[in-house]
Symmetry: C2
Subunit: 199 residues, 2 copies
Amino acid sequence: MSTTGKCFVVSGPSGVGKSTVLTALLNKHKDIYFSVSATTRQPRPGEIDGVHYHFIDADTFRSWISQDEFLEYAEFVGNFYGTPKKYVDQAMDEGRDVILDIEVQGATQVIAKRPETVRIFIAPPSWEELERRLTARGTDAPEKIQKRLLRAKVEFQTAHTYDYLVINDTVESAVAELEAIMTAEHCKANERIALIDTK
Amino acid sequence: MSTTGKCFVVSGPSGVGKSTVLTALLNKHKDIYFSVSATTRQPRPGEIDGVHYHFIDADTFRSWISQDEFLEYAEFVGNFYGTPKKYVDQAMDEGRDVILDIEVQGATQVIAKRPETVRIFIAPPSWEELERRLTARGTDAPEKIQKRLLRAKVEFQTAHTYDYLVINDTVESAVAELEAIMTAEHCKANERIALIDTK
């Protein structure tokens, strides 16, 4: 049996612990390809081309846009950021599952191009818990925490457009849910049926 | 967070190892309710009412049919067999997942009444492997094995109507796929979203 990889978009509000959960998942499953974005911004000290970002110039970025080379892209404070198709497709062709860590608007662009993409939204167990976590980080002033909390609630209004809602109760439980979703998606009958030789 | 249980129909051709896989799953997860059928046939020695079957008389069975008390039912060599709704609903209300081990026609009846039921078809890794397993059991003559194999292929023609296809490569891998499917179904965004307090 040969299988091609599947593509999973993971979104979630700031402070929900998405990066921690994804890092734990990727450490456990080295075969998963975590999509690296392309950007026109300058590398910061320590950032490696192809690892943290694919650093490309604005002309290249524009030509990739015109050649429909991006699954999604956006401009942010004067720089472009986007998800190149080619690395994603290459990994999937090798049978590797792909995770795109992108926010709600980027996810919408991906779905428009690739409706078969599986959408996962990571949510906190409760708003009280999210507030507690944002406070525990100790990095933000109370007003900023309230602002983040409000933005999280606004983002959550789009969660119904996702296929799955993973609740980040503990890192372990959230990773287990992500693993279950990825396994279950590979069990979907409509695609898997072709793997059984019906002769 | 409170959750209600979900209902899973599991079908699969004779010889595929469905009973072995389900027994392993149920031994691991004592909280899953494995639906017990009602029947009008006489108990065989050792069969316990409420454990192997709910043994009821033909009048009771007919009255349950007329009161729409069955998720599905059928007649087989003069006896009736059916899945009573009440035990399934009771378990789901208690938050327990329910497994119905029923064949393709029964599954169609369940879906007609409860479209939200998750359908899982258990398939062999290949027809060669199914033939090998049927032969290894040593209980059937070659012609009977060929007949079972043919019936398995006919049943497999309905597999595309199921949500998931679990491949019984090893008992462990099939159990892991069933566990993943059950977990993932509880992560479906449209239902789970109500569990997050959005105030």
